[in-house]
Amino acid sequence: MRRLLNRVHWPLWVVLVLIALALILPAILPWTYDQIDWEAVRAPAFSGSHIFGTDEIGRDRLARLAAGTQVTLMVAIAAALVSLVVGIAWGATAGWVGGKVDEAMMRFVDALYALPFMFIVILLMVIFGRSILLVFIGIGLVEWLTMARVVRGQVMALKQRPFILAAEAAGTPPRTIILKHVLPNIAGVALAYLMLTVPQVVMVESFLSFLGLGVQEPLTSLGILVKEGADDMDMTPLGLLLPGGLLVIILVCLTIEGERLRDIFS
């Protein structure tokens, strides 16, 4: 645990502080994210109880930012976990079984890689309607490809290591070998790629929400806030700059941290 904490670098601290703020702020702010203050429409920053002012229909900006960050990160983490589970299961099976099965499984991954997946997600949205559940299932199901490739490579390398061969020779059932010996050894790399998947998913979710195909009103997300800000930027630039800046900070920090972890573990 100590070792893990020492590996936490400033970008991750920034994200953790932002998450904490997003969780705490809604509880202590006098306004909720969908509450309209009729007295203060498009209020400037630091007016009354609105620290960052209000938007074009009088909703508190800070409360909306906190709620949007919550939704965006929740979708991202949920979808990244889906991709982690699917990716590890697929990659570990392919790497462990090897041979024809491996080839077929990885061909499938290659084929999916070649597809313009954003359009597939949009197609799914069009077909099954727009719901937050579908947003993250759709994203999680296409973001597992890299994880599967990486895990497969790791498992194939591990399979040749003496301690695995010894376990096999001792008659340990494959299930136990995989759970007890293989998975713990790929945890680090998987964590690094999980960290890199989160910003990818944040990007996809915000992209969909920005186009009106993702999270739907009254729920909000950073993508929706950027969209609202962009529509109203000639009146109140703050509406664009705050969620846009926040989104970029989260994306940059997660990418830097993920790349650092990846370089450490591989």
Partner: protein
């Protein structure tokens, strides 16, 4: 080289067909249709509309009709833009999207390769670290943030560039192209830097140095070409990324390109329009991958038979 092209084309056609069929059936599985308005239409009107657009025939027959018309360049009528065929909309949008994407990839290559190159020759120094940090930041810049931010800064505040639409001249292209190119250029910079770092340690470079060749010649003639192989293999995914980015950029800057029709079609369940655009996107990506393979073969002669 010709064999490679032929083989790639042989696999491209079935792939394209599979994508068309898959998206065709997916669209038809969708609950709700384009004629579901606020008020339900009388059943006779609904039946008449279904017959007029051929939606009452069996699915396989519809698919067959669709594909046989597609081969002749007929994407069918748009269900939402009632006065236009999808082919007309696409013919209008494609040049704009191609211009945007083409200029963006050229800009990204120029910025990315020169940034990667200048970082690699200063390996380990502060300039190297700064450039690489900037590249990381660039890859994390979503077009739907940079687009509006650029429009705010250069369009509204400084008043230098048009905020929306395709005005006279070419100044309307600047901001969309820059917003599109930024993340791709970051990725290319990283790949170039990593590729050069590996290549510059190899024997043929040491030999060139030992023979006293000027450093610039070593870098450009012997170093850069093999170092760009990873960049070439990134071009395929980059094209897919640019097409996706173009959807946002066209929406943000109000450009009537393919991407905007795609979003409009998706929001309004305009099946023929969405299908047509997806088919075109798939064809473009397949074509671009082929092009990337050719560049790959040019950079690395060993790949030519592959």
């Amino acid at each position: 080289m010709l064999a490679l092209v032929a083989r790639r084309l042989m696999t491209a056609i079935p792939t394209l067909l599979a994508i068309i069929l898959a998206s065709f059936f997916l669209m038809r599985l969708a609950p709700g249709g384009p004629f579901d308005g606020e008020r339900p239409l009388p059943p006779e009107t609904q039946a008449a509309l279904q017959t007029a657009y051929g939606l009452d025939k069996p699915l396989w027959e519809q698919a067959w009709i669709y594909i046989s018309r597609l081969v002749q360049g007929d994407f069918g009528p748009s269900l939402v833009y009632r006065d236009f065929t999808v082919s007309e909309l696409v013919a209008q949008g494609l040049p704009i999207s191609l211009t945007l994407g083409g200029l963006a990839i050229v800009l990204a290559l120029v910025i990315g390769i020169s940034a990667g190159l200048s970082a690699a020759v200063r390996a380990g120094k502060a300039a190297d670290k700064t450039i690489m940090m900037l590249a990381t930041v660039a890859t994390a810049l979503p077009t739907f943030v940079t687009g509006p931010a650029l429009a705010l800064l250069f369009g509204l505040w400084l008043g230098l560039l048009p905020v929306s639409g395709t005005g006279d001249g070419w100044s309307w292209l600047i901001m969309p192209v820059v917003a599109l190119a930024l993340p791709v250029s970051g990725a290319i910079a990283k790949l170039t830097r990593a590729g050069l770092a590996t290549v510059l340690k190899q024997d043929h470079i040491r030999t060139a140095r030992a023979r006293g060749l000027p450093e610039t010649k070593i870098l450009f003639k012997h170093g850069l070409r093999p170092a760009l192989v990873p960049v070439a293999s990134y071009l395929g995914p980059a094209a897919a990324g640019l097409l996706t980015g173009a959807v946002v950029v066209e929406t943000v800057f109000g450009l009537p390109g393919l991407g905007r029709y795609f979003v409009q079609g998706a929001l309004n369940r305009d099946y023929p329009l969405v299908l047509g655009v997806v088919t075109l996107y798939a064809a473009l990506i397949i074509l671009f991958n082929l092009f990337a393979d050719l560049i790959y073969g040019w950079l690395d002669p060993r790949m030519r038979d592959g």
